[in-house]
Each structure stands twice: as C-alpha cells, then as structure tokens.
Amino acid sequence: MSRFSLSRRAALFASVALLAASFAAPAAAAGDPATLTVITRLTDTGFDPAFHFAEFDGMDVLNLYEPLVYPQKGAAPSGHLAESWDSPDAKVWTFKLRKGVKFHDGKDLRAKDVVYSIDRMLTINKGYSYLWAGLLKPGTTTAVDDYTVKFTLERPFGPFLDTIVQFFVLNSEFMKANTAKEGPFGDNGDYGTAFLKKADAGSGPYTLAEVVPDSRRAYKRFDAYWGGWKDKQFNRVVVQLVGEAATARELIAKGDVDFVDQWQPVEFYKNVAKEPNVTVPETPDMKLYFIQMNTQRPPLDDINFRRAISYAFDYKTAVEQVMGGAVLGQGPIPSSMPGFDASTPKATTDIAKAKEFLAKSKYKPDQFVLEFQFIKAGVHEPISLLFQANMAQLGIKIDIKAEQWPVLTKNAAKPDTAPHFFPVYNTAKYPSPDAFTHGMYHPQSHGGWQAASHYANPQVTKMIDEARTTADAAKRNKLYADAAKIVVDDAAALWVAYPFHRVAVNKRIKNYQHVGVMAFDLRAYNLRYE
C-alpha cells in the first residue's frame, strides 16, 4: 500500500467524520428557549389515565389531561375542571363543570365525558381505580345536565374529593371513535387502551407531539387551552429517559437540559447544586420513609420488643448522614400533609429506654435472627447496615438481605411471609392522611406492601372507619391524626423521616412549585423561562 493511497484514505475518513460531526451539532445545541427539556430515569408506561400510578406516567397524564380538582400543598384541593361541588352527606357528590373547556380535537368538555371516563376507569380496574374499590361502581355516575355530574357512592366517603385528584377526564366521542371492537371489555371492546399507547384524548395544556418508545416523548402547546397562554410559557416539552446519574449530571451542568426529576441519588443533587447554572429546591415532601415491623411475627408480636427496637435506632445518623437531610419522623402522617398533628411523639433514640423495654419483653434478644429485607436502591442498603449495627447494641441479630421488588411485594402480602423489617417509601397519591392510616394500618389494606406491618387494632380500625365516613374535613383529619397517635404508641413501625423532595432545575426556569402529591409538580404549564 503506497503512502499516497494511505493518506488519501485517511483524508477521506477524516472528511466523513467531520461531515458526520457536523450533523451531530444540532442535537447538542441548547435550542429554542421555549422548549423545556426534562430528564428522568423512570420508564415510560403510556398515556392512559386508567393505567397510571407512577410519577413518570403521572407527568404525561398531568400535562395532557386534567382532573376535576387540583391538589394544594397543605390544604384542600381547589377547583380545576370543576368550578364547584357539593356533598351534604359525603355519599352523593355533585360537581359543576367549568364551561368553555376544549378537548384537543376542539370539542367542548361536557358531563357525559366525565361519566364515560369514570366508568372506563372503574371497568378497566387498574391504576388508581383501587381508590374507589367498593365505593363506586360503573354505571352509577350520571350527567345531570351538560355541565353537572353526580357521583353516587356505595357509602359515605369523606376523602372522596381528595382522591379524585387522580381522576382525569377523556374525550368520550374521540375515544369511542378510536376503540377496537375486539377486547376484554364486552361492548366497549378494548376501551381504546391500544389507541392511548401512542396518543392522548385530553383537554390539558399540551398535546402529545411525538413518542420514541423507551427514549423520549414530546408535548406541544394546545393553543385553545381554556387557561390561556402568557408570555414565557413553554411551547414544547421534551422528556428524555436517561439511565445513568453521571450522564444526567453532565447534561444539567452543561445546560443541555432544564430539569432532572426526583429519582436520582442524594449525592447527585448535592453535587449539581454546586453548578452555577443549577438550583436544587429542597422541600419537605408529603412522603414518608419508614421501616415496617411485622407485628404478627415473633418476637415483633410483642409491643415491648417493638418499642425497644424503636428506641434503639439512630434516627439522627439516618436523617443527616444517610439521607442527606430530611424532616425527622413523627408518626405515619407526613408533616406537610393536611391533618398532621405536631403533638405526635418524634422519633427518638434512647438506648436506656430500649433496654428497659427489652427487659419487659417476653422474648430474649438473642432468641431469634430477624430478617431485614430491602430493595437495593436509594438509601435502603446503608439504612439496613445502620439498623443492623444499632440492634447489635441490644444483642439482637439482624440478617439483612437485598431482594428484587416483585419478591418483596409478594413476601409482604402475608403475615407469615412478610419479613420482620421492610423499609419503604410512601408518597402521597392524594392529599389526605387517609393513605397513611387506612392505606397502612387498616386490615382492609393488608396485602399491600405499605401495610406489611400487618397491624390490626380494633380501636384504630374503628377510628379510621369513622374518619372515612366523616364529611367535615377538620373532624375527619383529627380522627386520622388520633388514630395515627395510637399506631405510634403501638410501635407498628419506625417512622424514620419525611424526606426532602429534591429536583435539579436550570436557573432559567422560574415558578417551580412543589405540590407534594406525586408528579403534580411536573405540570409544565405552571413554569416560565427567562
């Protein structure tokens, strides 16, 4: 091979490389300031409000569809598609709808759409439909007139208004036109479930513009949105999946993306906060980090043994060192949740008291090896090691074991398979203490992984039942808080902390507000750019 031909080939290769690099340039550019770029590590799961229950699909649903009422941090929900509502008995709920709301195909939103949407959600029976299991049946919701809709529950349910923040309205005519005849829902065929995997049928401020599965999706602004548009709002939103924290860090630091959601490790936010163009808002979340104790398995069926463990755990180290800062736990109801009672005892470390309770227990500390099972993600592993070391001070042996999530949820379902200790997060799905009391300490919730304590106290059960049927929010929340205090006294878990909600935001983004209910802070319509 001659030198000449070699150099010619090298030159050709270099030319092609340069040409290719020149095509790459637009992708790296920051681009249009009216485009918001969000990155997440969560996998996409479609655009159907009947299926969603996670944060990432929550973001899609929240931007493409709308609920009747919208959650407010520390307060009752405010009207959204519904302008007003009324329920004298907490059993029949009547909502007056906002007029002038358009779906993305230009049709007006009417009461029949609300009826179609709730019946569809209850029939499909997935996602957040569990919130109304046994309370609301398909066919019982009626359109009184074009702008009035009436929900008739099986029995009074006080937190109904709070729970319907997770109910989103679809365009019924558009959906019927895009429903496959064959499907598992009888006359409703597939209920349009196949169609909503790559399309939307909502009235939200954005419409779905583009989907690249497992990679990215884009929304574009819906010009006829009833809320109108102001200067400096985003015309386009791009959501990109990024699996690696190191990649996410580079992207936000370089200004290639505007927003990183809450699912990165604590160190990620601590590090990116040092970047000059990035801010990391830290807000106490309506979220709980707690270590569940299986109250049905010896020795944890003994209240004194559980109390000893509660006092032996080093909460300060867990909160300050492991979690990088959080609000110290004070029972199951998060401190920013309506109904939180500040007089609930704080999580306390007191080895002397721990030994005192252990002495009262009918079990000896070295009689058992206790299982501590966790998913290998986030803070669970360091917390498990800290827990193991703390319990060793009492002579209690802890076997820590990382498991996969489907294994943990299956184990947690029954008292004889649930581990002695199971640490989890519980994020508010609706703004009510109901999820943190009924959802965790009422026998009806046993089987769920947030009820792995398998706790049952007739007095608590009665109080929660009474709270659920109480229409008055203040009285209802007081009942929940009182029930929670009894659960704390019974030491059903270690309520370690109310973690901070952290996101990384480019400083050009303004108006970011944390709401507390999962994904509701990711509504791009509320944001502005500089």
Binding site: L19, A27, F51, G127, Y130, V212, D214, A246, T247, T409
Partner: protein, 340 residues
C-alpha cells in the same frame, strides 16, 4: 453442499430453540416474586389482582400456559406484558429489536473493519511497535469493563470534546424517519434524507465503539495468531519467491486462509452483540432490547423474559447455524464427513 447437510443444521436449530423455550419457561415461572402485585400498584385489591391474573392467563395450568406460549411465539405474539400499559410483548419486541440490531450490526462492522487490519498489521510487524501497540489495545479492550469504557467514551468524546452526541438514537428536536424497518439508517435512506442518515449515524458511533471494544480486541488477536501461522507455510514462501506483491499475498491468500477461525468468533459475536448490549444501551439511553430485557427481569415480566431470551437465543443459534453452513461451504471435508 448437500441439501441434507443444510436441513440437518436447521433441524438441530429447531431442537435447540425448543429446549430453550422449555427451559426459560420453567425458570421464569419458578423465579420468586409476584409481578401482578407490582403491576397494579401498592394498594391493589384482591379482586383487581385476580382479574388481572385471569386476563394474563396465569390462572391456567403450567402446561396450558406453555402451549399458549409456543402458539404465541410461532405467531410472533408472546402474550401481554405485566408492566403498564400491559401491551403485547410481540409488539414491544418488534419496537425495540431494530434499535438493538442496528447497534449490533454497526458494532460488528466496526469490530471487523478495525480488528482485521489491525490484526494483520500486528502480524506483519511482529514484536515491533505496531504489534506492541495493538497488544496494549487488545488487552485494554478485553480487560476494561464495558460500563466504565462506555461512561468514559461518553464523558470525553461527547461531553468534554463535544464531537458526537451523548445519548439516544436521534436529536431531541429531530423527528425520527418514517417507520418502515425500524432501522433509522435504512429508514432515513428510504426517505431519501441523507442529512438525517448522517445525523443518525453520529448517534450510533459512540455506543457501537463501546460495544465493539472487546470483540475488536478478540478479532485482532485471533487474526494476528492465524496470520503468523500462515506466514510460516510453504505457499507463502513460494508466492513471495515468485515475486508476487506482498499486499496480494497477505490480503488475497494468507488472510483468506486465516479467516476461518475468525469466522467462528464473528458467528458468536452476533449473539453477543444482541445479548450483551444492555449496559451500553443503559449508558447511552439507547432504546433497545437490552434495556427492555433488564426491565423485564427486574419486574418479573414473565412473557417478556421468555420473549427476550428466545430472541437472543435465536440470534445465537441462527448465527452459529449460518457459520456452520458456511464452514461446510468453505471446507469440503466438513460436509463430506456428513455422508459417512
């Protein structure tokens, strides 16, 4: 080549795939954990869980479930996923496989296009600096973990130097080509959009480089060893003594003879590229089958686990069958031995 030889190879392929299907079905069913509870969220009612079990056919006996799986697999429909939105696994595979295949083919081209000439060069310059340099390159390629290499390539080439894009298959503000084959390069050419073709090509380079590093090193060392073996043979000496140009001797005669061992590796690599891309796909946010498979394992998505394993198994088995058939074509001794 006899038809009998080819038919026999394909019959063996069918047996292997049947065995694989049984094995992976049993493993996926005995894995601990309950995917339905995850799929329906933390507070799903027992009635919801039962309804979904019935919808998924998980209330049927295991033999019936297996028969349905085989029927579905033959039809290209592997049942429904247990991950929301509970879509057809067959459609998921069809969505993600082209991205993985595109990456795998490009990585294989890189590995061969760089590995073979570097291996030849190392042999020709034995124990001199090109050989030493290629040795360092080869050992590094094999020894460096692929996740670290992928992160470093991304950090340096994409973020620090800004030469090539860091993630995805296409720019954030660029619309993908009209979906015909699922291969962006082919689809952009079919759309006669050369700009988009080169744009997509830039996104392929870094993940393909990370994926190709280890196979490239293997090919390089194998070609070097085979070439050294060929160098000592009489026909090379004869050719050179008769004045045949060195380039012709090396590339036309020696390399052809030396390439049969490399062909074995290349056959295996097809499966390796499809099956081992998950780390690279994660780092570069490449929406391929690897990421889909990892997610299926994490959440015990029965049907998806079986489907991904079968697809990777088919890739391995089919590539090896093709290599065996090619061997038979290249080497008459092999196919003639079948007749005995």
């Amino acid at each position: 080549m006899t038809m009998r030889f080819v038919v026999r190879r394909f019959f063996e392929l069918a047996v292997v795939l049947g065995g694989l299907a049984i094995l992976i079905f049993v493993i996926s069913r005995v894995l601990p954990g309950d995917p339905i509870r995850y799929a329906l969220g933390p507070n799903a009612s027992p009635q919801q869980i039962e309804q979904m079990r019935t919808e998924m056919g998980l209330d049927e006996s295991l033999p019936v479930q297996f028969i349905r799986l085989v029927e579905g697999s033959i039809a290209g429909n592997f049942g429904r996923s247990t991950i929301p939105p509970f879509g057809s696994v067959g459609i998921d595979i069809a969505t993600y496989l082209p991205a993985s295949l595109e990456l795998a083919f490009f990585a294989m081209i890189l590995a061969i296009a760089l590995g073979v000439p570097l291996g030849v060069t190392a042999a020709l310059y034995r124990d001199r600096w090109p050989d030493q340099a290629s040795r360092v390159l080869a050992f590094s390629g094999v020894a460096i973990p692929v996740f670290w290499l992928a992160l470093m390539i991304q950090l340096v080439v994409a973020f620090r130097l800004g030469w090539l894009p860091a993630l995805g298959r296409i720019g954030r503000n660029v619309a993908p080509p009209i979906d015909v084959t699922g291969f962006y390069l082919i689809d952009s050419l079919l759309a006669a959009d050369i700009g988009l073709f080169f744009h997509c090509l830039t996104f392929l380079v870094l993940p393909a480089l990370a994926l190709a590093a280890s196979p490239l090193a293997m090919i390089m060392r194998l070609v070097r060893a085979s070439m050294l073996e060929e160098m000592g043979k009489d026909y090379v000496l004869t050719a050179r003594a008769n004045g045949m140009p060195r380039v012709l001797v090396v590339y036309k005669y020696m390399l052809r003879n030396a390439f049969s061992a490399t062909l074995t590796i290349v056959g295996l690599l097809v499966g390796y590229f499809v099956g081992s891309a998950f780390i690279v796909e994660t780092v570069f946010s490449w929406p391929g089958l690897g990421r889909y498979g990892v997610r299926a394992l994490q959440f015990k998505d029965f049907n998806a686990i079986v489907a991904v394993t079968l697809v990777v198994g088919i890739a391995y088995a089919a590539a090896n069958t093709v290599v065996t058939v090619l061997y038979g074509w290249l080497d008459p001794r092999l196919r003639l031995s079948e007749r005995k």
